[in-house]
């Protein structure tokens, strides 16, 4: 059973993942709820985040085969381990920017990269969701696991201005 706060954060994840991956893969993205079911060699990135407001803290994990991760980029990728870390960084960064408009200031950690065979994703937190992200017929998987105070209530304040992704500001 998800709280209102959970639903907001999960919704921000889906919105952010769709925008970001469509931009990088130059292709529409299908997002479905599915747990990672890959076999063989995989690379994963895990990135933690936290906020004082609502005592919110959690992690985002992305996982995929190296050849799949390469396709989630409009340019050629020499290092899929590096790219999945940076993709996770941009994804959590995008969610972070969205949460500013809900009065939540998030601090992000540094991506950790893992590689191995038949990796499995799971979170121990109370709230978690798994997604399959598919672009150009190729999928990677994601997990968002986080906790927030049960009394947490997020309200959108559209007066809070955040610079948009891709925007350029010269001083």
């Amino acid at each position: 059973m998800y709280s209102d706060t959970d639903e907001i954060v999960f919704s921000l994840f889906e919105e952010s993942a769709r925008e970001l991956i469509e931009y990088h893969s130059q292709s529409p993205v299908e997002i479905s709820n599915a747990k990672c079911q890959l076999e063989g060699r995989e690379v994963a990135s895990v990135l933690g985040f936290g906020a004082e407001r609502c005592d919110m803290h959690g992690s985002v994990a992305l996982i995929g085969r190296p050849e799949s991760i390469r396709t989630f980029n409009r340019d050629s990728v020499d290092n899929p381990s590096d790219w999945i870390g940076e993709l996770n960084n941009q994804l959590v960064g995008r969610i972070k920017n969205r949460l500013i408009q809900y009065g939540v200031t998030v601090q992000m950690g540094t991506p950790i990269i893992l590689s191995g065979d038949n990796l499995d994703l799971d979170g121990l937190s109370a709230s978690q969701k798994h997604w399959r992200l598919t672009a150009n017929g190729v999928s990677i998987y994601a997990l968002l696991a986080f906790k927030a105070m049960p009394t947490c209530s997020l309200q959108l304040d559209s007066q809070k201005v955040v610079m948009e992704e891709g925007a350029v500001c010269l001083f």
């Binding site: 970001l20 931009y23 990088h24 980029n73 340019d75 990728v77 020499d78 290092n79 590096d82 790219w83 870390g85 940076e86 960084n89 941009q90 959590v92 960064g93 995008r94 972070k96 920017n97 500013i100 200031t105 992000m108 540094t110 201005v161 955040v162 610079m163 948009e164 992704e165 891709g166 925007a167 350029v168 500001c169 010269l170 001083f171």
Partner: protein, 121 residues
């Protein structure tokens, strides 16, 4: 003579992507993987413009800007931050430190090039 742009980012993929866009526009590109290496390359000389991430290990981008700008030789060196961060407070801190601009990732190549051409040429 083409201008040399320094790209500072802990992601090799981002350094390659930014570098490729800049090279296509006729710039010479050199790279650094964090603020320490970035500052060293700047102080070694020959850099016309810097594109710099914010969140990096060893020394973050804003710390690097603050330190570089204490050196009068680099008072006019354009440094554009390229980062996932979009919060106004952080942007103001970078501006106060002496940064010349701010781009939120993922960057659009044509807008990045236009910014660099405006500041560095």
């Amino acid at each position: 003579m083409p201008s040399t742009v320094l790209v500072v980012d802990d992601s090799v993929t981002v350094r390659q992507q930014v570098g490729a866009a800049l090279k296509q526009a006729g710039f010479v590109v050199t790279e650094a993987k964090d603020g320490v290496e970035g500052k060293n390359k700047i102080t070694a000389g020959g850099i016309s413009c810097v594109i710099c991430d914010v969140n990096m290990p060893n020394k973050n981008g804003i710390e690097m800007v603050e330190e570089v700008k204490t050196d009068e030789r680099f008072a006019k060196l354009p440094i554009i931050m390229l980062t996932t961060e979009g919060a106004p407070e952080l942007i103001q801190r970078a501006k106060k430190a002496g940064a010349s601009g701010w781009i939120v990732k993922p960057f659009k190549a044509d807008m990045l090039i236009a910014a660099v051409q405006k500041l560095c040429c």
